[in-house]
C-alpha cells in the first residue's frame, strides 16, 4: 500500500495522483507507441478501440457524469461522419478544418437535443433521444445530395496537412492522438467547476440548483460537449469504415455505445476506455472463437470416439455460425455485469488492484457499501 503525502493544495489539481502514477501512464503511452511493431495484424482493430474510446468519453460525460442517459448517440456519430465527409469531399475543405467544423456542427445538434432534455428526466429523456436517432437516420437515408442516400457514400483516406494518413500505422497514430486529446480535455473539465456541476446534477438536481448551478445551462453544455466529442469520433469512424450508409448508424449501434460505458463502469474515464476495449475487441474475439471453438470441442469429444467427435464438431459449428450470436453475447454480458458488477470493468479493476496492494489483509467487504447504484443507473 502506497500513501501519498500531500503538502500543497495544488497536488489535488494534478491529472495524476503522484509521480508514480504518472510514470505508469507514460509507460502505457510508450507501450502504445511501440505497439504497431508488435501486432501489425491487429492495428485496424486497435484503431477502432481508440475511436470507440472517444465515443465512450462522450457518453461517459453525459450518462456517467451528468446522469442523462442517451440512446441516440449513434446519430451524433453519424452527423459527425457525414458532415466530415461532406466538408472534405464535396466542399474540398482541409482535413483539420473539416474535423473541427464537423465537431462543432455535431455539438450544435447536441444543443438541439439538449433543449427538450431540460424538461425531461430518466426514461423519458432516453426515449426522446431514441426518437431523435430514428429521425436522423431517416434524414441520412433521404438527403441524397449530401449523404448519398441509401446507396451510401465512399470515404477517401485521410490527408492531414497534405500528409497521406491512409496506412494502418499512420491511421493508428492519428486515432491515438485524437483519443489522448479527448481524454485530456475531458479530464480538465472534470477537475473544474463545470465537471463538478455535472456530477452535482447527476446526484441531486435540487441541491445543485440551490448551490447556484443553472440546470438548463449545464445540461445543455453536457449535451453539446458530449455530442462534439462524438462528432470527432464520427469523423475518424468515417475513415475507419471507409463507406457511409444510413443503416450503420442504427439504434443497435447506440445500444452498443451505451453498453460500452455500462460495462466499463459508469462515472469514471477509465470505465469509458475499458468499455471501448471490450466492445471493439469482443467481435474480434468472437470471430476467432468461431474458427477455433468447434475444432477444439470436437477434439475433446473425440476422446469418446470418432462419431462423438464429429457430431460435436458439427453441432458446435452450427451453433457458432448462428447469425444472432454476437448481439446475444453482448446482451448476456450486459446482464451479467449489471447483476454481479454494477461498477463495471473499472470497479473490478479497482478491486483487483486493492487486493494486491493490501495482500494478505484484503477485506472482502471493502466495496460492499459502494455497490449502490448511481442515479443515472437507476433511471429516475
Amino acid at each position: 500500500m502506497r500513501f501519498v503525502f500531500k503538502t500543497a493544495y495544488g497536488q489535488d489539481l494534478g491529472l495524476f495522483r503522484d509521480g508514480v502514477q504518472r510514470n505508469w501512464y507514460l509507460a502505457l503511452l510508450v507501450g502504445l507507441i511501440i505497439l504497431p511493431k508488435l501486432v501489425p495484424a491487429y492495428l485496424g482493430d486497435i484503431s477502432l478501440v481508440f475511436i470507440y474510446g472517444l465515443c465512450g468519453l462522450s457518453l461517459m460525460v453525459l450518462a456517467g457524469y451528468t446522469g442523462l442517459v442517451s440512446l441516440g448517440h449513434a446519430a451524433f456519430l453519424g452527423v459527425g461522419a457525414y458532415a466530415h465527409v461532406y466538408f472534405t469531399q464535396t466542399l474540398g475543405m482541409p482535413w483539420v478544418l473539416s474535423v473541427a467544423l464537423a465537431a462543432a456542427l455535431t455539438a450544435a445538434a447536441g444543443v438541439l437535443v439538449g433543449l427538450p432534455a431540460l424538461r425531461m428526466t430518466g426514461v423519458y429523456l432516453t426515449i426522446a433521444t431514441l426518437a431523435f436517432a430514428l429521425i436522423i437516420q431517416e434524414v441520412f437515408a433521404r438527403w441524397e445530395p449530401v449523404t448519398g442516400g441509401l446507396k451510401g457514400r465512399p470515404v477517401d483516406k485521410p490527408v492531414v496537412f497534405g500528409v497521406k494518413m491512409g496506412g494502418d500505422v499512420a491511421f493508428y497514430f492519428l486515432c491515438l492522438v485524437f483519443l489522448a486529446g479527448g481524454i485530456w480535455l475531458t479530464a480538465n473539465l472534470l477537475r473544474s467547476p463545470t465537471g463538478r456541476a455535472w456530477v452535482a446534477i447527476r446526484d441531486s438536481e435540487i441541491a445543485a440548483q440551490s448551490m447556484g448551478v443553472n440546470l438548463a445551462v449545464y445540461k445543455t453544455m453536457a449535451f453539446a460537449y458530449s455530442a462534439g466529442l462524438m462528432g470527432l469520433g464520427g469523423a475518424l469512424f468515417a475513415h475507419k469504415i471507409g463507406f457511409l450508409a444510413p443503416d450503420i448508424f442504427s439504434v443497435l449501434l447506440s445500444i452498443q455505445l451505451l453498453l460500452m460505458v455500462v460495462v466499463g463502469g459508469l462515472g469514471s474515464l477509465h470505465g469509458a476506455l475499458f468499455g471501448a476495449v471490450f466492445v471493439a475487441l469482443l467481435p474480434v474475439g468472437i470471430s476467432q472463437a468461431r474458427d477455433s471453438v468447434p475444432g477444439v470441442l470436437g477434439q475433446i469429444a473425440g476422446v469418446f470416439g470418432k462419431v462423438a467427435g464429429d457430431a460435436t464438431f458439427v453441432a458446435a459449428d452450427r451453433f457458432v455460425k448462428q447469425p444472432g450470436l454476437e448481439p446475444g453475447i453482448f446482451g448476456l454480458i450486459l446482464v451479467l455485469f449489471i447483476l454481479f458488477e454494477p461498477l463495471g470493468i473499472y470497479g473490478r479493476w479497482l478491486k483487483v488492484k486493492l487486493f494486491f496492494s493490501t495482500f494478505p489483509l484484503y477485506k472482502h467487504a471493502t466495496f460492499k457499501r459502494q455497490k449502490s447504484y448511481m442515479r443515472s443507473e437507476r433511471l429516475r
Binding site: 493544495y9 495544488g10 489535488d12 489539481l13 480535455l185 480538465n188 473539465l189 477537475r191 473544474s192 467547476p193 463545470t194 465537471g195 463538478r196 456541476a197 456530477v199 452535482a200 447527476r202 446526484d203 441531486s204 435540487i206 441541491a207 445543485a208 440548483q209 440551490s210 448551490m211 447556484g212 448551478v213 443553472n214 440546470l215 453544455m221 462515472g267 457499501r369 459502494q370 449502490s372 448511481m374
Partner: protein, 252 residues
C-alpha cells in the same frame, strides 16, 4: 427595512392552502426559528425562499431587494444558502468535491478556459480550495476530506451539508431541521456550531427545528406555525408558553 422579510406568503397546492398569509422579518445577525407540527408548512417556506416553488401570493425581500421572481440558481449568488431536511448531498463524490461545489456561485472561469485548464483556472481553484479548507477547519471535517459521501455516517453527512452551505459564503443560512437524526451529543454540538456561525462568522440564520432544547438554546426569535398560519411570534419562552402553541401540539 429588515434584513429578510416574508410578506403575506401564500401558496396553494391544488385545493390545499399550504401557507396562508405568513409574514415575518429576520434582523441581521439573528437566529430565527420556525417551529410547528408536521405539515404546518415550515419546509414550504424554505422551498419558497430557494425559489423551488412559486408563491401564489406575497413577497420575499432580502437585503433590500425583492427576490420573489429571481430564478432558483440566482439565490446562492445573492447570499442565501440552505441545507435540506433529508440531506441532499452528492453521494458519489468526495466531501471535498461537495464543498467545492458550494463555491459554484463564485465561479469565475469560463468553459473554454476550463477545457484547457489554463493557469487562471488553476489559480481560481486554489483560491476556492483555501476557503473550503477554512470551512473544513471550522467544522472539524479534516478526517473526512477524501471520503465518499456514500461511505459516511448520517451525523457527519449532516455536518458536511452545513459545511457546503457555508462554502457559498452566505449572508443568510437556511437550516432545515439541523438536528433531525442526530444523537443528544451531536445535537449539542450542532447548537454550538449554530451559535458560532452567528457570532464568529456573522451569518444570519433562519432555521426549522423540532428539538425545543436546541431551539431555546440558540434562537433569538421563534415563529410558530400551524396549518400554514402563524400562531405565535416571540422569544422561545414566550412561544412555548403561548396557549395556541400548546393547543396545536397537545390538541384539545
Amino acid at each position: 427595512m429588515s434584513f429578510f422579510t416574508a410578506d403575506k406568503l401564500e401558496i396553494n397546492f391544488g385545493g390545499i392552502k399550504a401557507l396562508d398569509g405568513v409574514s415575518f422579518a429576520v434582523e441581521q445577525g439573528q437566529v430565527f426559528t420556525i417551529i410547528g407540527p408536521n405539515g404546518a408548512g415550515k419546509t414550504t417556506i424554505f422551498n419558497l425562499i430557494s425559489r423551488i416553488y412559486d408563491p401564489t401570493d406575497g413577497r420575499l425581500t432580502f437585503a433590500g431587494e425583492d427576490i420573489t421572481e429571481v430564478p432558483p440558481h440566482e439565490i446562492a449568488r445573492r447570499g442565501i444558502a440552505r441545507t435540506f431536511q433529508n440531506i441532499e448531498l452528492f453521494e458519489h463524490a468526495t466531501v471535498l468535491q461537495n464543498l467545492l461545489l458550494g463555491r459554484h456561485a463564485h465561479r469565475r472561469s469560463r468553459f473554454v478556459e476550463e477545457l484547457l485548464f489554463l493557469p487562471h483556472v488553476r489559480r481560481e481553484e486554489l483560491k476556492h480550495r483555501e476557503l473550503v479548507e477554512k470551512v473544513i477547519d471550522f467544522l472539524d471535517l479534516q478526517p473526512h476530506r477524501d471520503s465518499l459521501i456514500a461511505n459516511l455516517p448520517y451525523g457527519v453527512r449532516k455536518v458536511v451539508e452545513m459545511a457546503r452551505a457555508l462554502c457559498t459564503e452566505p449572508k443568510l443560512l437556511l437550516l432545515d431541521e439541523p438536528s433531525s437524526g442526530l444523537s443528544v451529543e451531536e445535537t449539542d454540538g450542532m447548537a454550538f456550531w449554530i451559535q458560532d456561525i452567528r457570532t464568529l462568522l456573522g451569518i444570519t440564520v433562519l432555521m426549522v427545528e423540532h428539538n425545543m432544547r436546541l431551539v431555546s438554546t440558540v434562537s433569538d426569535r421563534v415563529l410558530a406555525l400551524n396549518y400554514g398560519r402563524p400562531i405565535a411570534l416571540g422569544t422561545a419562552r414566550e412561544v412555548q408558553e403561548h396557549p395556541d402553541v400548546v393547543k396545536a401540539y397537545l390538541g384539545g
